[in-house]
C-alpha cells in the first residue's frame, strides 16, 4: 500500500534544515571529494531466480480450499496479477538489494520486528530508485521503499514506523481483501463505485496505522518517529532541504544574470500547508485524520526510555546522505533538471569539493541547453514515430506552481533562452573541466556544447563582446559618472558610483548585498533622484540585456577555448555545405537499402514479450507472455548464431543466484535506456546518468546494445455474420475466402528491435514489423534473423 503518495501542501516550513545539519558532520568524509552510485551486491534473492509463473502457482495453490467459487476466482486472479506485476517491478532494474541503503533499512526492520520473528521472516525489503516519496507492500511480504522517502527521513524511528505500517498491510492482507471485495460479486458489503473504493482503502489505511502502532509500541523507538513520519510526508513534495538558492552560485566576473532572471524573496511562492485537505477521492485519509486516529489509538503514553536511533545514528545519516546523492542522479535520469540542480546545490553547501555533485549540475545544465537548442536541419529521427516506445521529450520549466527555494532554479531555467542556456552550460562545464582535468566526460560535454552553440544555436565568436564585463564597467561607468557629478547630489552620486564600481568586484565579494543595491529598479530610482538621467542607466541596461555577450569573453581569451570554438564554427560551415554526408545522414541508418551496420558483437538486453487478449477481462495473458518470452530468448540466441553475430545475452529473467554482476550490468543498461527514452527523439541530449558505455566497452568489448520485443494482441473478430451470409448467398463461391476468415484468429503482432550505440548516444538501427498474423516461430525467426544479419553485415557504399 502506498504510504505517502498523496500529499497536500501546507503553509509553513518545517525546519528540515535543522535535522539536516545535526549529526552529519561525523561521517561527511566519504562524501567530501566524490561519490559512487550504489549497486546491488551479494547473492541474488530467490525471488529473482524464480519465475513469476512459479510464484503465482504457489500462491494460487493456497486458495484451492476456498469454498466460495467467486471468492476463489477473485483470489486466484489477484495472486496471478500481483505476482506478475511485482515480478515486473523487481526486474525493472530499479530495485536494489544488499546495497548500503537496503542493508540499513533491513537493520531497522530487524530492530522494529525484533519481537515478531515470524513476521520479520516473511518480509523482504528492497529499495527502489525513485524520487517519489513512497513505500508500499505486496501481499507476499515484499516491502518497497523509495530512495525519495529515505532522503526525506530525519531519524530511524520514522522509518521504523513506516515499516510497521507497511507490515500491517501485509499481516492484515489488505491487498487481497480489497481485490476480492471489489472483484467478487459475492461480496456485497461494498458497492462497486469509486467512492466506496476510496472509503475501503482509507479504512485499510486507518487499520494499518493502528496496527502499525501496536507493532511500534513493542519497539524501543521514540514516538516522535510517528509524528515525524507524518510531518515528513506533509512536506514530501518539497526537496529534501530548503535553503536559499543564491544568484551568485552560477555567476562569476563575466557571467552575471539580469536581475529579473531571479525572483525576489517576496516573489517566491510561499510553502502552503493544508493538513486537513479534502480526501474523499484519495486512497489515503488526510494527514490530520491519520494523526488524530493514531493519537486516539495511542492514548496516554510516555516516551521515556525510547530512542530515535537504535541501530546507529551515524549509519542512519550516512544512509540518508547516500539516498540524497542517489536522488540527484535519479532526477537527472528523469529529466528533472531543476530539482537535480537544486538538490546538488544543497548538498554542495555541505560538500563544496564534491566532484559528483558539481558534475550533476554540469550535466543537468548540458541537457537543459540541449533540450532547448533547435533541432539541426535535415534531421530525421532513426526511430520512426510509428513505434511509440518513447514519446517526445517534454521538459517543464513551469515555475508558477513550484513552492520553496527550488522555485528559483525553475524560474532561471524558464527565463534562459536556448543560446543563453547553451552559454551557461558551456561556461559552467568549461570551468569545471579546468578543475577536473582528467574527466573525459566533461571534455565530451564541452565539445558537444561548442557544436550546439555554433550549429544549433548559430552563435559565432563575433557574437561575444571583445571587452570583458569588468573592462566595460571600469571604462564606461567611470567615464560617464564624472560628467554628471557636477549636477548631482553628492551623497546620491557617491552611492551610484559606489554601486557601479562594485560590479567589477562581484567575483570577490558578497554579491548578494551588491546586487541588491544595483537592482534595476533601485538603481533607476537613485539615478532619477540624483538627476543622472541617462548616462549610467543606459550602460547598466546594456549590461543587463547583453549579459550573455560578456559571459564567454574571458574564456575566449584562453587559446584552448577559442580554438575549440573556431573548430565548431568550421564544423557548422561544413555541415551546412553538406560536406559531411555521414552527419547529414545521421539518424537515417535504419534504411536497410544502404546495407548493414557492420557490428561484430552486441549485447542483447532484456527482451520483452507481451501477449494480450482484448476479449478477456484483464487483457494481459501472463502465463503465455512468460512462456513466449523464454521461447523468444532462444530465437534471439539462435538467430544471432546463425548470422555469425557475437552476442552477449543480459536478461533479468534468466538469472542465477550468483549472477549479481549480470544483474548490475542489467540495471546500468536499463537506466541508460530509460534515460534515453526520456529524451525521446531529441538527439541533442546525452545520456549522462551513468557511464554504461565505458563499463560495457571494458567488460564486454562492445558498445552496441540490442533491445527487442514482441507484442501480440488478440481481438474480437468482426464481420462474422457478413462472412457467413456471403458464403451462403454466393452459393459457396466465396467460401475459400470466408471459411479461412471464420476459422482464423483475429490478431496483430508487432516485432521491433532497436540497436543503440552507447558511446554515440544514438539509435543505430531499427527493425519493426506489424502483421495481422499470430506470433508464430517463423515470423519471429524471419525478422530476428534479418535484424541480426543486418547488424552483422558491412555497410554498402552506394
Amino acid at each position: 500500500m502506498i504510504f505517502g503518495i498523496y500529499m497536500k501542501k501546507l503553509s509553513f516550513i518545517l525546519g528540515l534544515t535543522g535535522f539536516l545539519s545535526l549529526g552529519v558532520k561525523a561521517q561527511t568524509k566519504q562524501f567530501d571529494s566524490d561519490y559512487t552510485p550504489l549497486m546491488s551486491s551479494g547473492v541474488l534473492p530467490k525471488i529473482y531466480t524464480t519465475s513469476a509463473t512459479e510464484k503465482a502457482n504457489k500462491d494460487i495453490a493456497t486458495v484451492k480450499k476456498e469454498k466460495d467459487y467467486r471468492t476463489k476466482r477473485a483470489k486466484e486472479n489477484f495472486y496471478l496479477i500481483s505476482n506478475f506485476q511485482m515480478d515486473q517491478l523487481l526486474r525493472s532494474g530499479k530495485i536494489m538489494f544488499n546495497d548500503s541503503l537496503s542493508l540499513f533499512v533491513n537493520k531497522v526492520a530487524d530492530e522494529a520486528f525484533k519481537d515478531m520473528p515470524e513476521v520479520r521472516k516473511s518480509l523482504q525489503i528492497f529499495v527502489m530508485k525513485s524520487d517519489i516519496v513512497n513505500a508500499f507492500t505486496a501481499d507476499n511480504g515484499i516491502i518497497i521503499v523509495s530512495v525519495g522517502l529515505l532522503a526525506q527521513l530525519d531519524n530511524e524511528a520514522q522509518l521504523a514506523y513506516i515499516l510497521c505500517h507497511e507490515a500491517s498491510h501485509f499481516i492484515k492482507k489488505h491487498s487481497v481483501d480489497s481485490y476480492v471485495v471489489f472483484n467478487s460479486s459475492s461480496q456485497s458489503s461494498y458497492k462497486r463505485n469509486s467512492l466506496d473504493k476510496y472509503k475501503y482503502s482509507q479504512d485499510a489505511e486507518y487499520e494499518a496505522d493502528a496496527e502499525g502502532l501496536k507493532i511500534f509500541k513493542k519497539t524501543k523507538y521514540s514516538y516522535k518517529g510517528i509524528s515525524g513520519a507524518f510531518n515528513m510526508l506533509k512536506y514530501s513534495y518539497l526537496p529534501f532541504d530548503e535553503i536559499k538558492f543564491e544568484k551568485k552560485f552560477l555567476e562569476d566576473s563575466s557571467l552575471v544574470f539580469p536581475k529579473n532572471y531571479f525572483l525576489t524573496d517576496t516573489e517566491l511562492n510561499p510553502i502552503k500547508v493544508d493538513e486537513n485537505y479534502d480526501d474523499s477521492k484519495s486512497t489515503h485519509p488526510n494527514i490530520k485524520k491519520r494523526k488524530d486516529n493514531v493519537s486516539k489509538e495511542l492514548g496516554e503514553f510516555s516516551d521515556e526510555g525510547r530512542e530515535k536511533f537504535l541501530v546507529n545514528k551515524d549509519q542512519f545519516y550516512n544512509m540518508r546522505e547516500m539516498a540524497r546523492f542517489e536522488l540527484c542522479n535519479i532526477d537527472l535520469q528523469q529529466e528533472e533538471y531543476a530539482d537535480c540542480i537544486y538538490e546538488s546545490y544543497v548538498l554542495l553547501k555541505k560538500y563544496p569539493n564534491n566532484a559528483y555533485l558539481k558534475k550533476m549540475i554540469g550535466k543537468a545544465l548540458f541537457n537543459v541547453a540541449a533540450a532547448k537548442a533547435p533541432k539541426e536541419k535535415d534531421y530525421k529521427p532513426a526511430l520512426e514515430p510509428t513505434i511509440d516506445i518513447a514519446g517526445d521529450s517534454y521538459i517543464s520549466y513551469d515555475y508558477s506552481s513550484v513552492e520553496g527555494n527550488s522555485q528559483q532554479v525553475y524560474h532561471l531555467l524558464n527565463k534562459l533562452s536556448a543560446p543563453e542556456s547553451n552559454i551557461l552550460a558551456l561556461h559552467y562545464n568549461w570551468k569545471l573541466k579546468q578543475e577536473l582535468s582528467d574527466d573525459k566526460q566533461l571534455s565530451q560535454l564541452c565539445d558537444s556544447l561548442f557544436i550546439l552553440l555554433a550549429l544549433n544555436n548559430e552563435t559565432t565568436i563575433a557574437y561575444f563582446n571583445k571587452k570583458s564585463r569588468t573592462e566595460y564597467i571600469n571604462e564606461t561607468f567611470v567615464k560617464a559618472t564624472p560628467a554628471v557629478l557636477d549636477s548631482a547630489n553628492t551623497v546620491k552620486v557617491d552611492t551610484v558610483k559606489k554601486t557601479m564600481r562594485s560590479l567589477d568586484e562581484l567575483e570577490n565579494d558578497d554579491m548578494d548585498s551588491k546586487i541588491s543595491r544595483i537592482g534595476t529598479q533601485q538603481v533607476a530610482q537613485e539615478i532619477k533622484a540624483s538627476k543622472i538621467v541617462n548616462a549610467d542607466s543606459i550602460h547598466y541596461a546594456k549590461l543587463e540585456s547583453e549579459f550573455d555577450k560578456y559571459a564567454l569573453t574571458d574564456l575566449l581569451r584562453g587559446k584552448d577555448f577559442e580554438s575549440k570554438f573556431v573548430r565548431a564554427e568550421e564544423f557548422n560551415k561544413d555541415y551546412r555545405n553538406k560536406k559531411f554526408d555521414n552527419i547529414v545522414q545521421k539518424g537515417t541508418k535504419s534504411t536497410t537499402n544502404v546495407g548493414g551496420v557492420g557490428v561484430d558483437k552486441i549485447i542483447i538486453l532484456d527482451p520483452f514479450y507481451i501477449k494480450t487478449d482484448e476479449r478477456i477481462r484483464d487483457n494481459y495473458k501472463y502465463y503465455d507472455s512468460e512462456e513466449k518470452l523464454n521461447e523468444y530468448a532462444n530465437v534471439l540466441k539462435e538467430n544471432a548464431k546463425l548470422a555469425n553475430l557475437d552476442a552477449v545475452y543480459i536478461d533479468s529473467h534468466s538469472l542465477n543466484t550468483n549472477d549479481i554482476d549480470t544483474y548490475n550490468d542489467y540495471t546500468l543498461l536499463n537506466d541508460w535506456m530509460s534515460e534515453f527514452m526520456e529524451h525521446g527523439y531529441n538527439r541533442n541530449m546525452m545520456i549522462l546518468g551513468n557511464d554504461a558505455a565505458e563499463k560495457m566497452q571494458k567488460k564486454y568489448n562492445t558498445r552496441f546494445v540490442l533491445w527487442s520485443g514482441v507484442y501480440n494482441n488478440r481481438t474480437e473478430k468482426k464481420n462474422v455474420g457478413a462472412a457467413i451470409a456471403l458464403t451462403v448467398f454466393s452459393g459457396g463461391l466465396f467460401a475459400p475466402f470466408t471459411i479461412p476468415y471464420l476459422f482464423r484468429k483475429e490478431q496483430q503482432t508487432l516485432y521491433f528491435s532497436v540497436l543503440y550505440d552507447l558511446e554515440q548516444n544514438e539509435i543505430l538501427y531499427t527493425n519493426t514489423s506489424v502483421v495481422r498474423l499470430s506470433d508464430s516461430r517463423d515470423f519471429l525467426n524471419a525478422f530476428v534473423y534479418d535484424t541480426m544479419l543486418t547488424i552483422k553485415s558491412k555497410p554498402k557504399q552506394r
Partner: protein, 268 residues
C-alpha cells in the same frame, strides 16, 4: 519482342535493386521447391468466370441450372521452384499440369443427309476431359511486412500454356431429333481432340508460412489469363463443325482462370 523487352527491363530493375540489399531469406535459406494443388470450380452453370458469349446463331452459350455447382472441382498440379533475390523480391519457375473435366451443353447445326436441310441439334451435358500444360516464370513481390520467402505476396506469372480437350464419350448423341428423319444426331469423337496453345499471363495473391525452419506451406488465389490462342487443331472431320469447335476452344481458354491453391515445399 516488345513484351520481352518490358519483362527484361522489369527484371533488370528488380535484380539490380536486390543486389544492393541485404537479403536474409529465411535464416539464410533462399530457395524452395514446392508442390501446389490448385482447385478451381468446375462450373456446370457458367458464371462470369467461364461464360461463353454467343458468337453465332445456334450456339448454346450457357448450360442449364439444373445441377448444383457445389463440390465439382477442377484441379491443377504444379511444381514450383522459387529463388529469393531481394528482401521482398523472388523469382520462380513452375510447371503445372491440369487434368480435369468440363461439361458442355451446346447446339450444333447439322445438315440432314437425306433432305439436305439443316437442323439444329442440342447436345446436353457432354463431358470433356481437359489436359493443360503450363510453363510459367514468375516475379514475386512480397508485402510490406513480409520478408521473402515469409509472408504475403503478389505474384506475376508469364508463360506458355498448351491445352487439349477430348470428349469422354466416343460418340455424342444429341438430345433433339431431326424433324425429317426423327432420329438423334450422332457425333463421332473417337479420334477427335482439340488442342490449343497460347502465351498467357496471370497473377496470384498468397502467403507462405514456414514450419520447422524447412517446411513451406503456402496458400492463395491465382488467376491465369491466356491470350488469344495461336492455333488449334481439330483432328476429326466429323466434329469440324463451327459451333462445337468455337465453344470448346473458348471453354478451354478460361477454364483455369481462377483457382485457389495450397502448397507444400522444402526450403533450403
Amino acid at each position: 519482342m516488345k513484351r520481352g523487352i518490358y519483362i527484361l527491363f522489369v527484371l533488370f530493375v528488380f535484380v539490380i535493386d536486390a543486389q544492393s540489399q541485404i537479403v536474409p531469406g529465411y535464416q539464410g535459406k533462399r530457395t524452395f521447391v514446392n508442390y501446389q494443388l490448385n482447385i478451381g470450380p468446375a462450373f456446370r452453370r457458367p458464371t462470369f468466370l467461364n461464360m461463353v458469349s454467343p458468337t453465332s446463331k445456334g450456339s448454346y452459350p450457357s448450360g442449364t441450372a439444373e445441377e448444383a455447382i457445389f463440390f465439382s472441382f477442377n484441379t491443377t498440379h504444379s511444381l514450383n521452384i522459387e529463388r529469393v533475390m531481394g528482401r521482398k523480391f523472388a523469382m520462380s519457375f513452375s510447371y503445372s499440369l491440369a487434368a480435369s473435366k468440363d461439361y458442355f451443353t451446346f447446339s450444333q447445326d447439322i445438315a440432314d443427309g437425306a433432305s439436305g436441310q439443316t437442323t439444329t441439334y442440342v447436345f446436353r451435358n457432354k463431358q470433356l476431359n481437359v489436359f493443360g500444360h503450363y510453363y510459367q516464370g514468375g516475379l514475386i513481390f512480397y508485402g510490406r511486412n513480409a520478408l521473402a520467402p515469409f509472408g504475403k505476396y503478389f505474384k506475376l506469372n508469364m508463360g506458355y500454356c498448351s491445352m487439349m480437350g477430348k470428349f469422354t464419350d466416343d460418340e455424342l448423341v444429341s438430345e433433339t431429333k431431326s424433324p425429317y428423319t426423327d432420329v438423334q444426331a450422332k457425333l463421332d469423337t473417337k479420334n477427335a481432340y482439340y488442342k490449343t496453345h497460347s502465351f498467357g499471363w496471370g497473377f496470384s495473391f498468397g502467403m507462405n508460412r514456414i514450419f520447422y525452419n524447412k517446411l513451406v506451406i503456402n496458400r492463395g488465389i491465382s488467376f491465369f489469363l491466356p491470350t488469344k490462342p495461336d492455333d488449334f487443331i481439330k483432328s476429326s472431320p466429323d466434329i469440324s463443325l463451327k459451333n462445337i469447335t468455337t465453344t470448346v476452344v473458348k471453354r478451354l481458354q478460361p477454364r483455369d482462370l481462377a483457382t485457389f491453391y495450397i502448397g507444400c515445399g522444402y526450403l533450403f
